[in-house]
Amino acid sequence: MIEIEPLGDTAIRVYFGDEISETTHNQILQFTAWLSIVKIDGIVEWVPAYTTVAIYYRPEVISYEKLTGVAAKVFAASSDSPQRTPIVYEIPVLYGGETGEDLSYIANYHHLTEKEVIALHSGQEYLIYMMGFVPGFPYLGGLPAKLAVPRLEHPRPSVLAGAVGIGGNQTGIYPSDVPSGWRILGITPVKLFDITKQTPVLFAAGNYIKFYPIDGAEFSRVKQLTAENKYKVKTYLKGEEQP
């Protein structure tokens, strides 16, 4: 069951549970999919997160009372709707070196070789639970426990756009240069956020990311293509054979 409460006077918070889980995540995806189908007057937008969805609305069009009623109905209707097949984005990563300076720390921390860390990190499909923090930033689930590392005691004032890092039991990619306390193990030449594009944000909640290691030459090639707007991120449907 869901719980609904006000989030100030122009938003509600729909609460799906206590735990981060794929089950909760799927309920949230189905719920927001229904919201976009039924198009309720007065709703401005919604933001899905790990265990909650915020719905922003205009009280002059729809009251708090009415919106909570409608949201409960949408939830009831959404619970048995069919699920779509998620997309997996293949993200090339140059691991280690100057732009992945914490790779050796992560390897030492877990008594692994750098190669083993790369194999583990690029061997998973990571679920995008939600987007937030800065434009285009994915909150990912699925980091192997064997790769979890403590955050830096003193966060770096800035990491490069494209930096791939691990902080605690999370991994992720920074779309822009921001301060970060995560351990940086590599960098992707792919742009996760480009305001000049029709769809500025590459990822969406509910899809997956799979990293694959590349060398310096391939990094330069992809970076060049990206700069010329000619690079297209490879994708496959979850569960299908990888090409």
């Binding site: 989030l7 006077d9 800065v134 500025p200």
Partner: protein, 315 residues
């Protein structure tokens, strides 16, 4: 027709193009941004005959010096800057004709923190994801995603409308160094000790200089968590009052992040956001709870006022 309207002689402390914000993209991490004090921006627009949500210039603490490149009708609303046109003082909350070649010096703020300049016909900057607002951290929107710099040329679509429209003095807000903010408690009030909720509602909090378009850092009686400040990251609204491990509240403002990982004790109601946006460091703040019904009644009152003013000046 798009034409050059202002040359920036001095940019001021942080002058940005803002409308009422960018909505529909928070689920991708894109902050709504927009005017910190939407009331002043809306009134400025209404006084020059624009749609209330048209983009204007948001000015913070120290205003710009702008040279008019053609005749236009403008209005300045918000904090008590002392704007001058060629060394003659001009009134706030009243539209006036600015002539080609004249120099507008907005001056320094004596009370309040921000003012808004609206130009009849609006500002001509690209509409990015449905809005003209500058998102400073995202480096897009407004004028090249940044605040104004010396030498910038601003474009607009100036139309000459009747000047000397003024807001009724009873509707001009007063800005002082004491602020009462009404909040709707939640969503994490159960994650604080009972004494902390009492301290929050009975204590006084001072706005610190660590305050900007993203958020206001407050300092006052420490708020204690029952089991730590961290939550599973979730969406944060305008006015959300976040309490990290320090126990000191941060109120999230126009350019907030879309999601956050700290407990939130409550949310400042929409009707009180404009006066919070005008608060300067050292302002003493007290919090009081209100019901959602009362908050929405105040919200609707404000909406109706804006609509009424628009209709009154459309004649």
């Amino acid at each position: 027709m798009s034409t050059e309207i202002f040359k920036v002689i001095k940019p001021g402390l942080q002058t940005t193009v803002q409308d009422l914000g960018r909505y529909g993209y928070q689920q991708f991490g894109i902050s709504p941004s927009g005017a910190m004090d939407p009331y002043s921006l809306q009134v400025a627009n209404i006084l020059v005959g624009n749609h209330p949500g048209e983009a204007g210039l948001e000015i913070a603490f120290v205003g710009p010096v702008l040279k008019a490149k053609r005749d236009m009708v403008i209005a300045i609303c918000g904090g008590d800057f002392f704007p001058q046109v060629d060394d003659h003082e001009v009134s706030l909350w009243k539209s006036f004709l600015l002539k080609k070649g004249q120099v507008l010096s907005v001056g320094v703020c004596k009370a309040g923190a921000r003012a808004y300049i609206a130009v009849a016909g609006g500002l001509d900057v690209p509409v990015v994801l449905g809005s003209k607002s500058t998102f400073l951290n995202g480096r897009f929107g407004g004028l090249e995603g940044r605040s104004l710099q010396k030498g910038d040329i601003l474009k607009g679509n100036p139309v000459l409308r009747k000047p000397h429209r003024a807001l009724h003095p009873s509707l001009i807000p007063e800005y002082n160094r004491k602020l009462r903010l009404r909040v709707i408690l939640g969503p994490h009030q159960h994650m604080f000790t009972e004494e902390s909720i009492g301290r929050f509602l009975n204590g006084e909090y001072v706005i610190t200089p660590q305050s900007n378009r993203m958020g206001y850092q407050l300092n006052g009686p420490k708020l204690e968590h029952l089991s730590g400040p961290d939550i599973i990251s979730d969406p944060v609204p305008l006015g959300g009052i976040q309490v990290p491990a320090s126990g000191q509240p941060i109120i999230l403002m126009a350019e907030r992040q879309t999601t956050g990982g700290y407990t939130r004790i409550g949310t400042v109601i929409s009707a009180d956001i404009p006066k919070l946006a005008q608060a300067v460091p050292d302002t003493i703040t007290q919090f009081a709870t209100v019901s959602i019904e009362e908050a929405q009644r105040l919200y609707l009152e404000r909406q109706i006022l804006i609509k009424y003013l628009s209709l009154a000046t459309a004649k």
